[in-house]
Amino acid sequence: MGRALECVAGFATNPGATFTVLTPSTGQSFTVRGTDITKGTWLMAEWAFNATAGELRIRSPRLHDFFSGIRNRVTAASTQVLDGDPTGDSYAQRLYAQDNLTVELTGGGAELDTAAILIGYEDLGGVAGRFIDIPTLNKIGLNKVTVEVTVTAVATGLFGGAVAVNSSIDNLIANTDYAILGGYTDTRGDAVGVTGVDFGNLRVGFPAEPSLRQLTSNWFVKLADSFAGAWIPVFNSANKTQTTIDVQTNGAGGTYIINLELVQLLPGQVPGGATGAAVQAGGGGAPTSAGQPR
């Protein structure tokens, strides 16, 4: 199964009161990936970061209607989840392969306004990431650990400033799988992205909102809980130099301290991972049993 999760973010320049189609970040598109509509594809969350209050609208003839669709108010200077809130049992909108979503924003007349959507693919042909569900996390989880990086965002509304997860603190155990529970940002932006080969080279992400720490700290666990599936991304520390964190924000740019909340996993339990067998077979001395007492 080619499971994948992708955070697609874009911006509108000086939208004012006019619904303006978002320009996606370079290399991204609001066209749903995939080649088969029978494969489950879900709009799991959407959020926006406006300096001036506006509206975020997502529509498609394949969805409810192409007139207004999913339209929500964006309050100023607060990156709030506007649809598909993963804090509770939510309803994920089904999406269809190759459907070109129209994602639009209104907002300020002299600013970049930004928004992001998170799409979950249950089986994306030719692309596959490594994800686990909550029972698996509880079964093979060992220790919590945090990686902290400093990201300097670009001021163009695109994802930028990508740095490796070990760029600030290199404390991950060699050849070991880590699940990403979620993360924190200390500065407001639109989206925090994490990219790597273990996620199929797609960008998983969460809202860059410092006042929603209880939401973002275990964002992916909440997604896995709310949408009842394996949506917790896993990467191997053997790929740490190529697993990067970046930020997408408005025209102000900014310097972001990003913390990713990780859980070290038992080695060899999540399919598709690097074994790192070249030098350190056995996962760097990781224990052989794990699990929470529940």
Binding site: D36, G161, V197, G200, Q242, G253, A278
Partner: protein, 199 residues
């Protein structure tokens, strides 16, 4: 050592029941201020920090996320002074102008790539590969065709799937069951059945 004599009074000074009660005395006025509530029962006693009539109470403070209401001049979430915040903003502006957009990566299958990366690790005898070695491995994967279909063929097939989905929903299938039927039988067959009116 002489015993300590403790004189216990029946009522405090100013209390109406005290033997020397004088309604005009400062003690009586203060007692009345603290104990008489003409408007009814109070939520907090007189002079309580949260009482509405306590001078300087903090009831009207807005507790916004990241903002210290006692130091509203400080930058939200960081607590920096205005001078510090201005300095950091100036430095950040310079850094953001110099920052680079994130590289665009081509999607791939993590299992396939990790297997190839492991083979490369064995080959070079190191766990951590250089960016060039990563690129070399991934480039080899990217040159292989991902799908036997062309974009036009994929678009035509998906359009047919949508037609089949519409046909099945019109015939009373739920969306999920219709998608299961299309996945199992194929859109061509579903459309053939639908066109002939058979169930």
């Amino acid at each position: 050592m002489a015993p300590t004599i403790h004189l216990e009074e029946d009522f405090p000074k100013g209390h109406p029941a005290r033997y020397d009660y004088d309604p005009a005395s400062p003690e009586a006025v203060e007692w009345a201020r603290k104990n008489v509530s003409p408007l009814g029962q109070r939520d907090f006693p007189v002079d309580h920090p949260k009482a509405a009539d306590t001078a300087g109470n903090t009831n009207a403070l807005a507790w916004e996320a990241g903002v210290d209401p006692h130091n509203p001049h400080r930058e939200p979430h960081t607590g920096r002074s205005p001078a510090q915040a201005a300095g950091v903003a100036a430095m950040t502006e310079i850094a953001s102008k110099a920052a680079k957009e994130s590289p665009v990566l081509q999607p791939l299958d993590a299992g396939e790539v990790n297997a190839a990366l492991d083979a490369k690790r064995v080959e070079v005898g190191r766990d951590l590969l250089t960016p060039e070695e990563y690129s070399e491995v991934i480039a080899k994967i990217h040159v292989a065709p991902r799908t036997p279909e062309t974009d036009v063929e994929i678009k035509a097939r998906i359009e047919k799937q949508h037609l089949a989905l519409g046909a099945l929903i019109t015939r009373g299938y739920t969306r999920n069951s219709a998608l299961e039927v299309i996945a199992r039988e194929g859109a061509d067959r579903v459309l053939g059945i639908s066109a002939s009116g058979q169930s």
